[in-house]
């Protein structure tokens, strides 16, 4: 049962990909959520596949750079390296990617996707062989969040014959990458081992010269046993992985004036900030397929532990009103803020009125479950149906053990104030969820119709574990059914129109009161697609009609725990366009071209006040924060047998940092009312030379023009995009 059909992208894979050479492409489909390219071309919805060839072309380590060429993706940068990316689709908040479903090999990979959806763990994109983006009505197959979309990262498959790959690179700011894999299959048994290390000294600078970079390691092993017979494809696969990160990352940014003077400086008060995490995963997959059906069963367990020690704000032994870091970095010039600002920079010593409070947000997560997904082709009443259905029993948990310790700034260094470390948040949230979906697709001549429904049955449990607060708990149950329908009509062999509607949903976490409504929307899309072998164009209009928009405010947005805020009725609508073509020169060179454009409009339909710092005083008609109206990405290259060059130019409009559009003078104002991020133009260049079929050298420059833009002033002050980075690498494979 090989559904694979060559087309535009897959030919490109075979022409250009070194490391993917050894992959058995057909096996990718078993893990893929999209399927093959032909299905992609006639999909009744917005789906995008970035294959291994595309990924290797630019050697990106940051998922934000990878997704820059995907229409309908809105991103808020944070640390410049993409260590904790903020990704949204079609206007949903990009905050910690909490409203999209992030999957690895079809399994939810967020630390606790139901209980604490903020994605503080994100798999290393450098080891992925494909990235799949799904938006629109086909979303009902993936949950729990159906309002925006799903992002599936596909790891390297067990090769069908001996395969080895090596990739080493070094670059500016102490960057280095080491990546290796080896796999083989002997008779029915195959295996793969893979290791990846990534490191940088960081492009920001502390006065004391300390490292502001990161070290990440990732190890993966797979064993696969093929049980196929004449009539069935069948295999069992075990995947185990371990990853860790140590990064000197901070939430502390700069005042606008300091950003203008030197966007890469870091204040002395952030000198001890450090994130450490460990992640391990286990997955058992069984795949069975006959001539008219396939069935995939996945058993999974992910553990994640993290501790982020970082500046939370100021404290005072003398109490009183103390400005938040965001307030004092927004108005450092006021009499009240000046001394805090000087302490922050290390130019003035602390008194006990300006103690620096560093929090250690220690959290442990697990996520486990079993998912069964299947499809079946049947003929009923003379029509061909493809039925798909799935069920998932899932459980996840977050344990928060947050503490705070006071420090004093003395001679530019943070010294412990000698006070006891105090516990701040000590609680547990756990969710058990059963998800089911069923969908039917009927094809008749040029028309393909699909309809389906997803059910989410969520039991949440919250417990405050602070001694004396045993009665602070909640057991909460949410049930929801999410229908969706779509259609594709083939105008001719190369083009078609499609459209659909589905119910969007984002659950609330177990700690939120039952009176806080879940997020709900009705999402519409209508599109046109033209596909030829070397040319592809797509235009999609979308409209997300929220009856209730909610935002959970995590620490990255200025809250200690994930408090949920409600905005009610909101509209988000826009247009996504993409065009790709490959030209062929007489000398055999290829010229791949790509244009991606996204226009998004949003408006709150009601006027209200919210204590959520990103909203404040909202007037009906105000746009949703952190959503660029226009985003454009252009990519062009030259590809020959011995070399290739690719240039990507990405533009994004400035974005409002708050829904409130101007300050009112009230103490309840959103501190960043009226402020916008910078618009940005980013240019990335990559070039490679192939010594032979197995060996390649590559060179790349990220942010070629050395643009220095404010990508966000949250959580605490202005932060820059990634500095210009040069990189030289060598790859070998057989």
């Amino acid at each position: 049962m090989n559904k694979y059909t060559h087309s535009f992208f897959t030919v490109a894979v075979s022409l250009t990909s070194f490391l993917s050479y050894a992959d058995d492409v057909s096996s990718v489909e078993h893990i893929s959520i999209i399927g093959n390219q032909q299905q992609l071309d006639t999909a009744a919805g917005s789906v995008t596949l970035i294959d291994n060839a595309e990924l290797e072309k630019m050697e990106f380590d940051d998922i934000a750079q990878v997704l820059a060429t995907v229409p309908g993706v809105n991103i808020r940068q944070e640390d410049g390296f993409g260590l904790r990316p903020n990704i949204g689709f079609r206007g949903v908040t990009p905050e910690r990617s909490k409203k999209i479903n992030i999957m690895e090999d079809g399994v939810l990979i967020g630390p606790a996707p139901y209980s604490a959806p903020a994605a503080y763990y994100f798999p290393m994109i450098s080891r992925m062989t494909a990235v799949e983006v799904t938006k629109g009505p086909s979303m009902i197959k993936y949950g729990p969040n159906t309002v925006a979309g799903a992002l599936n990262l596909v790891t390297r498959q067990v090769p069908t014959k001996q395969a080895l790959g090596l990739d080493v690179a070094a670059g500016s700011d102490g960057y280095y990458k080491g990546h290796a894999f080896y796999g083989n299959s002997i008779d029915k048994l195959g295996f793969l081992i893979e290791a990846l290390t990534l490191s940088s000294d960081g492009f920001k600078e502390l006065e004391n010269g300390a490292d502001t970079g990161f070290d990440k390691q990732d190890f993966l092993a797979k064993v696969r046993y093929d049980l196929s017979t004449d009539h069935f494809d069948q295999f069992v696969e075990i995947k185990a992985g371990y990853g860790e990160e140590n990064s000197n990352e901070t939430y502390l940014g700069l005042t606008d004036a300091d950003f203008t003077a030197d966007p890469y400086q870091r204040y002395a008060a952030s000198q001890l900030d450090n994130m450490e995490w460990q992640h391990n995963q286990f997955q058992l997959t069984h795949y069975l397929a006959g001539s008219t059906f396939d069935l995939t069963t996945r058993l999974y367990r992910n553990n994640f532990e993290r501790a982020w020690f970082k500046l939370n704000g100021f404290g005072s032994s003398l109490g009183g009103q103390i400005p938040t870091l965001l307030e004092l970095l927004t108005h450092p010039e006021t009499e009240e803020n000046q001394r805090y600002y000087d302490v922050l920079r290390g130019t003035t010593d602390s008194t006990v009125r300006e103690k620096l409070v560093l929090g250690n947000n220690d959290r442990e997560f697990y996520s486990q479950g079993i998912a069964i997904d299947g499809t079946m082709d049947i003929t009923l009443l003379g029509l061909n149906h493809q039925l798909s259905a799935g069920v998932r029993w899932h459980e996840d948990e977050i344990q928060r053990n947050h503490t705070e310790t006071s420090f004093l700034m003395q001679n530019g260094r943070l010294t412990n104030a000698g006070e006891d470390t105090v516990a701040t948040t000590t609680n547990t949230e756990r969710t058990k969820a059963t998800s089911v979906y069923i969908a039917d697709t009927i094809s008749f001549n040029k028309l393909t119709l699909s309809a389906g429904i997803r059910g989410e049955l969520i039991d949440g449990y919250y417990q405050n574990r602070t001694p004396g607060f045993e009665q602070d708990y909640q057991n909460k149950t949410t049930r929801i059914w999410l229908p969706g329908a779509n259609a594709y009509y083939a105008i001719n062999d190369s083009q078609g129109i499609f459209g659909g509607v589905h119910q969007g949903f984002v659950p609330t976490s177990p700690i939120q009161a039952a009176s806080v409504d879940v997020e709900k929307s009705v999402n519409y899309e209508l599109g046109w697609r033209h596909v030829e072998r070397w040319q592809r164009a797509e235009l999609v209009g979308f409209f997300n009609d929220y009856s209730n928009l909610i935002e959970s405010c995590s620490q990255s947005a200025g809250c200690d725990t994930d408090l949920t805020f409600v905005a009610g009725n909101v509209d988000v609508y826009g247009l996504e366009g993409s065009y790709q073509e490959t030209l062929f020169l007489d000398n055999g060179w290829q010229i791949p071209l790509s244009v991606t454009y996204t226009h998004t409009q949003s408006e709150f339909k009601e006027s209200f006040y919210s204590a959520f710092e990103q909203w404040g005083f909202v007037d009906a008609g105000n746009p949703v924060p952190y959503l660029a109206e226009n985003m454009l990405s252009l990519s062009a290259g030259v590809k020959a047998s011995l070399f290739d060059i690719t240039l990507i130019v990405s533009y994004a409009d400035s974005m409002p940092e708050s829904a409130q559009q101007m300050l009112t003078g009230s103490s309840d104002d959103s501190a960043l009312a009226g402020k916008e991020t910078d618009s940005s133009i980013n240019v990335d260049l990559s070039a490679g030379y192939n010594f032979n079929r197995n060996s390649r050298i590559y060179f790349k420059v990220d942010n070629l023009l050395e643009e220095q833009d404010i990508v966000s002033r949250r959580p605490y002050g202005a932060r820059p995009n990634k500095a210009r980075q040069f990189q030289l690498g060598y790859k070998y494979s057989f």
Partner: protein, 404 residues
């Protein structure tokens, strides 16, 4: 054919219709979960009577008394300045002004535990104009002494740390006539060229402006609370239709929040920090410079006033009035009602038994201040547990999860 397509989709359509696209959420919560103030406890207690008692017997009389004291303070400062100008026994006039300041401060320290409504609005703007401690700056006051000599000077446009009782304390009690600005460029202009007499006069002239401003703010506070539209009526109407409080318990919770001043400020800031239980500018040793009212050495009296304010709030005035003690008794927690009242009395009695000023005791016998801390902590520990839980009140955010 269209008919067949429709029939084929009918199963899924039916499922969609049956499901009704519906959503339901339900929960079961523990007694400490969330915001119980929005769900009144089932009791027969008349919370409105408690609110009326606190407003009429405690809050408004305290603000009235402070306004009277502020007037007296203004007058005595004016007399002091006149005495300086005419050189007619200025030290006696200064002593009178200092005594007036202490009387006003004693009254204000009661009001400190009553920061509700107009005092708390806009980030406590009115409270800070009257008394901004611990956000104080003596250098800012030094600058203001000179700035205030300009013809177009308007103190109403100046920051809180240059105004109020804290600025007056520095002006009236500080015997050092040098300025306190240490950062280059911040020194008050021409200060060093003034004689001692000119400096005294300049400080007193500014103190007179501050005292007049204090009177204005004290009267504004009283106006905000008085009359049919005043905040006193707003509190008393809690739970009625069109009230800003959906339940009377929400208003009770506002009063309770204010009472936690004794935990967060009196216990932690006024006692724990200077004695060294919390880090201070001397490390973790006794540190008089981190006490409140350091120029007047009035911290102990302030602490006593805070505790007395807690007592009157708790009782709704005195034992005959409807107060939190009655509320606790009504919900069946007589033990907490009696214990809390006794513990407050114990703390007041111990504080009043201390001989000498706060700074002297801190330096000579810090164990006594630590014992005072323990007494106050006994009170606040009961407040944040039994008191809150029995009355289904919500802890102020600043007191939640601090693992006291």
């Amino acid at each position: 054919m269209q008919q067949r397509i429709a029939m084929s989709l009918s199963a899924v359509s039916l499922a969609v219709a049956l499901a009704g696209c519906g959503e339901s959420t339900s929960s079961e919560t523990g007694s400490q979960y969330g915001n119980p103030a929005t769900t009144p406890i089932d009791n027969n207690f008349n919370e409105s009577a408690l609110i009326a008692s606190v407003v009429d017997n405690v809050l408004i009389p305290t603000y009235q008394s402070f306004a009277t004291q502020a007037d007296a303070l203004h007058l005595s400062v004016s007399n002091y300045c006149d005495a300086l100008r005419s050189n007619s026994n200025p030290s006696s006039a200064q002593s009178d002004a200092q005594a007036s300041w202490k009387s006003a401060m004693n009254e204000w320290q009661l009001a400190e535990v009553m920061q509700i409504g107009p005092l708390a609005e806009n980030d406590f703007a009115l409270r800070n104009r009257i008394y901004s401690w611990p956000n104080v700056s003596t250098c800012a006051v030094d600058q203001e002494v000179i700035n205030s000599q300009a013809d177009d000077y308007d103190i109403r446009t100046r920051t809180a740390s240059r105004r109020g009782l804290d600025a007056l304390e520095y002006s009236l009690f500080n015997t050092n006539l040098a300025h306190t600005c240490t950062v280059a460029g911040t020194e008050p202009e021409n200060w060093d060229k003034l004689s001692d007499e000119q400096r005294k006069q300049a400080r007193c002239d500014y103190a007179e402006i501050v005292a007049a401003d204090l009177v204005d703010n004290a009267n504004e506070l009283l106006t905000e609370w008085s009359g049919e539209t005043g905040y006193g009526s707003v509190l008393k109407d809690a739970g009625k239709p069109d009230s800003r409080f959906s339940t009377s318990l929400e208003a009770v919770n506002d009063i309770s929040d204010a009472m936690f001043y004794v935990k967060e400020v009196t216990k932690d800031t006024k006692i724990a920090t200077p004695v060294g239980i919390a880090a201070n500018d001397c490390g973790t040793s006794p540190c008089p410079q981190n006490a409140e009212s350091v120029y007047a050495d009035h911290s102990l009296q302030n602490i006593i006033a805070n505790l007395k304010a807690l007592r009157t709030l708790f009782l709704g005035g005195d034992a005959a009035n409807t107060g939190f003690d009655d509320f606790l008794t009504d919900v069946g927690d007589l033990d907490t009602a009696e214990r809390l009242r006794a513990d407050i009395d114990t703390a007041i009695a111990y504080a009043e038994s201390l001989n000498g000023s706060f700074s002297t005791t801190l330096e000579d016998d810090p164990e006594q201040i630590e014992a005072l801390h323990d007494d106050v902590k006994t009170v606040t520990d009961t407040m944040k547990t039994d008191f809150i839980e029995s009355l289904s009140l919500e802890l102020p955010a600043t007191s939640a999860g601090d693992n006291d």
